[in-house]
């Protein structure tokens, strides 16, 4: 199944404290592919996940599943939707009920009305699918390591039989040495089961490794959407360039921090382009570029494969990363 977000907006709070956490976001995830959503903390990427999965209400725009509108809270909380779209959370310790054995957690996720024998068999299959021994079914979350717990969380999502899985920072809580095996598992499952992934992470290298297309998010907005290879070879939005240059790399000398300052207060985003107070090619370095503080570049972007929301996107940017 394909997943599409059309001008999706999510708002939190009321009055002066209101935050538009997700602001007119467009994302296309074609069937069987992975779209990476990358951004720093507070950019709204996890809110996108929670909105898709029905955990927060949508303030505007549409969510389409295979072209069908599932935006209403009722649609996203229906059983049909749950069976199509699932989610794996960041921290596998807090996303598993500490008082429930792994077996019960898996059986609970299976469609209701199954015979006990059948659900036991399916739970056993799921645990095997994610590469855990059958003995894991009898265990409780605290008896497993972080990597094993995340495999259980993946098995639980799979037990429902979804086509689309939203993966929200699935490796950030894991130790370095087990991240590789969890990512490998996700890729194998996608290949074998034809799954569609929305892969959300703050880690650019992981997103690069996992995704076919990458959407870069900043302060509630998508600033650039591009096929992965192209994005890392020739990033065009100054934020994307800065983000890529900020990632520490082996065999690569350090570069000076490309972006200055911190993320602005999302309750009170800067006028015009949201990156303008930090942008290395914007008005703080190029006073002639006044348009950045007056016109919102979001307005000029069109829905094409390679989209960049910037008045001065570097169309001729140098490839900065070997691909």
């Amino acid at each position: 199944m394909s997943l599409q977000l059309r001008q999706l907006s999510v708002r939190y709070g009321r009055g002066r404290n209101a935050i538009t956490a997700v602001d007119h976001v467009d994302i296309d995830v074609p069937k069987g592919t992975t779209v990476g959503l990358v951004g720093e903390s507070g950019c709204g990427k996890s809110t996108v996940a929670r909105a898709v999965i029905g955990l927060v209400p949508v303030a505007g725009g549409q969510i389409l599943l295979d072209g069908k509108d599932v935006t209403s809270d009722r649609a996203r909380n229906s059983n049909v939707f749950r069976r199509s779209v699932q989610m794996v959370f960041q921290d596998p310790y807090s996303s598993l009920n500490p008082r429930m054995s792994i077996g019960s957690a898996l059986k609970e996720a299976l469609a209701h009305g199954r015979a006990a024998e059948e659900s036991r068999r399916t739970a056993a299959e799921m645990i095997e699918l994610v590469g855990l021994p059958q003995s894991a079914l009898k265990r409780y979350p605290h008896q497993l390591s972080g990597g094993q717990r995340q495999r259980v969380a993946i098995a639980r999502a799979l037990a429902v039989g979804p086509d689309v899985i939203v993966l929200d920072e699935v490796t950030s809580a894991l130790d370095v040495s087990v991240q590789g095996s969890v990512l490998n598992l996700l890729r194998t499952l996608q290949r074998d089961l034809g799954l569609t992934y929305l892969f959300i992470s703050h880690d650019l290298s992981t997103v690069r490794y996992m995704s076919d297309v990458v959407a870069v998010m900043y302060l509630g907005r998508i600033v650039e959407t591009t096929p992965t290879l192209e994005l890392f070879a020739a990033p065009q939005h100054p934020y994307t360039v800065g983000l890529i240059e900020s990632v520490p790399r082996l065999n690569h000398p350090r570069v000076r921090a490309p972006l200055v300052g911190d993320l602005p207060d999302p309750r009170n985003p800067p006028p015009g382009c949201r990156l303008s107070p930090r942008c290395p090619v914007g008005p703080i370095h190029r006073p002639d570029r006044k348009i950045c503080t007056t016109e919102d570049p979001q307005a000029i972007t069109e829905l094409t494969v390679h989209r960049t929301a910037c008045h001065f996107a570097a169309r001729t940017a140098q490839p900065s990363v070997p691909v």
């Binding site: 008082r99 800065g242 983000l243 520490p248 911190d262 930090r278 990363v321």
Partner: protein, 639 residues
């Protein structure tokens, strides 16, 4: 779960008590009913005697037997009231907590108001409306107690309703009822069990109050409360008439308390005996036959020199586990040394130990020399001065290293005033200069702010400024950017590099991020299970030889990793300090392991290119330890 209940002392004591109470309640009336009800006015108001162990009341009833016989009614009423409180209170409270935010606020306020009414008052209202007697008392006390139950249930539910597993269960399609029964209730059950037992005791006491007012149990029926009331009236004549029921009430409360605690433990799988990681069957922390690491050449004018550092913590009965197991390192002036490792590798504890920050009951051994002062050989005051003036530590979480209630200015000047005896004005001036050096805009304004008014990146800058106040020549930065975003991380690394270049401050950078370490250090130590397993020049990190380092390099995607190739899967996990394997600690996970690896610890050996590696295979001459071998041997998707 049942097994676990009977294995804990509370469970045993509680169940014996409860069984006893139950037995007395069931059998006492038929066995001793007659004795208890015999009226003998002549013998009234007598103290304890052989015939009447607790004496008699005004009508000559034997108090001891009356106590036993009235247990049934007392328990029936207390349990009945608690039952009503549970049935009404828990759904009320848990339900209120699951309401949408607006309505929830109103519902919770209403509950708070209702709690303010004493249960006794509500019971009195019920007794007044209905006829005074057992039933109105039970109903009244039950409703009265249900509000505090509701309050407990609502706050417990509120605490877990936003826990991720609740969201996760909703996402897989778990309905509301099941969510309550299987996810919410089990996680608040232990607290509710305790609330229940407290409530039984409270019910007994409130009932007594009602009886005292003539609204509870009506004569000729008697419960403990009624007995207490009558007993109190003749306290100076026959104290046991009041003490007897008083003690009975206290004992019953204790018994139910133990029982509740036992239940709470039994309901929590984390507390089940033998469950967690604490099985020491596989425990053996020996290294096998001793081996000797290659010695270090002493560094000229070294600012930091650490030899055979160990940090250990007590682990159960008279045993200690070593978390850092013999780490040696040195640091030249102006050098940047990286320590890389996963959680549990001992890298952070190494830093804490150097800064003398390991808290009791941790024990630090080994030799630590800072600027030529060997810390173990000088008086504490001197240690304090040496560390205060020459070494600074910056931690991962700047918020918890700053005092939230104290202005930045006061936190910054404290150290310099103590160690360098500056006046207040001088110290503030220095603080302003330091804040400027760490590139905080408008330092004067920042000085007057509190930590929570700053962003994460700004706080980390403040911490670094604080570290710089005494112009140390060693700065230890323990995961200084792990809590920060990459664009801010890059700024902090710029800052550290600037400090290093400008003041020739030596930096120890601790991180799990190989890229960060390789870009920002001269030399790298790789730690695994409390030991240094490899030491290599930072720009040659990709040529590392230890199988663990090699696997780490391939396990996390980096910007150059081929997207077609699988990542390296390292099977298993880092052993915890209680179960470090014999020999090479990495051997259960190592694809190159040979039999010797499980028997004897490989020493850290200096090789031809100036690396130090602790690995039998990498250090043997016919070593096949090429990068490619290790990479492909471990790739694929193992568990």
């Amino acid at each position: 779960m049942i097994k676990s209940f009977f294995r804990n002392a509370n469970g045993i004591a509680g169940s014996i008590g409860v069984l006893l109470i139950a037995a007395v309640s069931i059998f006492a009336p038929s066995i001793w009913g007659k004795k208890a009800h015999t009226i003998n006015v002549v013998n009234g108001d007598k103290g304890p005697s052989g015939a009447h162990w607790l004496g008699t009341d005004r009508l000559g009833h034997d108090i001891f037997y009356q106590l036993l016989v009235s247990t049934r009614l007392t328990m029936e009423m207390a349990l009945g009231a608690t039952g009503i409180a549970i049935l009404v209170g828990i759904p009320l409270g848990a339900g209120a907590a699951l309401l949408p935010e607006r309505v929830r606020m109103i519902a919770l306020r209403a509950l708070d108001t209702l709690i303010a009414f004493p249960g006794l008052l509500i019971a009195i209202v019920f007794a007044a409306v209905l006829d005074p007697g057992k039933f109105s008392a039970v109903l009244g006390v039950g409703i009265g107690l249900s509000f505090s139950f509701a309050r407990v249930a609502s706050s417990l539910t509120l605490a877990i309703r936003d826990r991720e597993f609740i969201s996760a269960a909703r996402v897989v399609g778990v309905g509301r009822t099941r969510l309550m029964v299987r996810h919410v209730l089990p996680n608040i059950a232990d607290s509710l069990a305790i609330a229940t037992t407290v409530s039984i005791a409270a019910a007994i006491v409130t009932m007594a109050g009602l009886s005292f007012l003539g609204l509870g149990v009506q004569l000729p029926s008697v419960d403990w409360g009624r007995m207490l009331t009558t007993g109190v009236q003749s306290f100076y004549l026959t104290p046991f008439a009041a003490l007897g029921p008083g003690i009975a009430i206290a004992l019953a409360a204790l018994v139910f308390g133990f029982f509740g605690e036992g239940l709470a433990r039994a309901a929590n799988p984390v507390l089940w005996p033998g469950s967690g990681g604490d099985d020491d069957s596989a425990t053996a922390t020996a290294d096998g036959p001793p081996t000797v690491d290659d010695p270090y050449e002493p560094v000229e004018d070294g600012v930091l020199d650490v030899r055979d550092l160990t940090v250990s913590f007590p682990s159960g009965r008279k045993r200690r586990q070593q978390v850092v197991r013999g780490v040696s390192l040195d640091l030249a002036p102006g050098e940047t040394l990286g320590i890389v490792g996963e959680s549990g590798s001992g890298k952070s504890l190494t830093a804490l130990a150097i800064a003398q920050l390991v808290a009791h009951p941790g024990v630090v051994e080994g030799r630590i020399t800072v600027n030529g002062t060997e810390l173990q050989r000088v008086p504490l005051k001197e240690v304090d001065r040496t560390l205060g003036t020459s070494l600074a530590v910056v931690f991962q979480d700047p918020m918890s290293s700053l005092n939230p209630a104290v202005k930045i200015r006061n936190q910054l000047i404290e150290g310099v005033r103590r160690h360098r005896g500056l006046s207040r004005a001088e110290a503030v001036l220095a603080a302003r200069r330091r804040l400027g050096e760490v590139n905080l805009p408008t330092p004067e304004r920042q000085l007057e702010r509190y930590p929570h008014e700053l962003s994460g990146g700004q706080r980390q800058r403040v911490l670094i400024a604080m570290g710089l106040m005494n112009e140390p020549n060693v700065l230890i930065a323990d995961e200084p950017t792990t809590a920060l975003d990459v664009t801010v991380q890059a700024q902090i690394m710029d800052l550290l590099a600037g400090i290093n270049a400008e003041h020739n401050t030596a930096v120890v950078l601790i991180s799990h991020n190989l890229g960060l370490i390789s870009q920002n250090c001269d030399r790298v130590l790789v730690m695994y299970a409390g030991r240094v397993v490899e030491e290599v020049a930072a720009d040659r990190l990709t040529e590392a030889e230890h199988p663990y380092t090699r696997a780490l390099l391939g396990a996390v995607p980096d910007m150059a990793h081929s997207r077609e190739q699988p990542l390296v899967s390292i099977p298993g996990q880092m052993p915890d300090a209680r179960s470090t394997p014999v020999g090479c600690a990495y051997h259960p996970r190592c694809p190159l392991a040979v039999p010797r690896c499980a028997e004897q610890r490989p020493p850290l050996q200096l090789n031809a290119v100036g690396h130090r590696v602790a690995c039998w295979v990498a250090n043997s001459d016919e070593a096949p330890a090429g990068a490619a071998t290790v990479g492909t041997a471990t790739s694929g998707d193992g568990a």
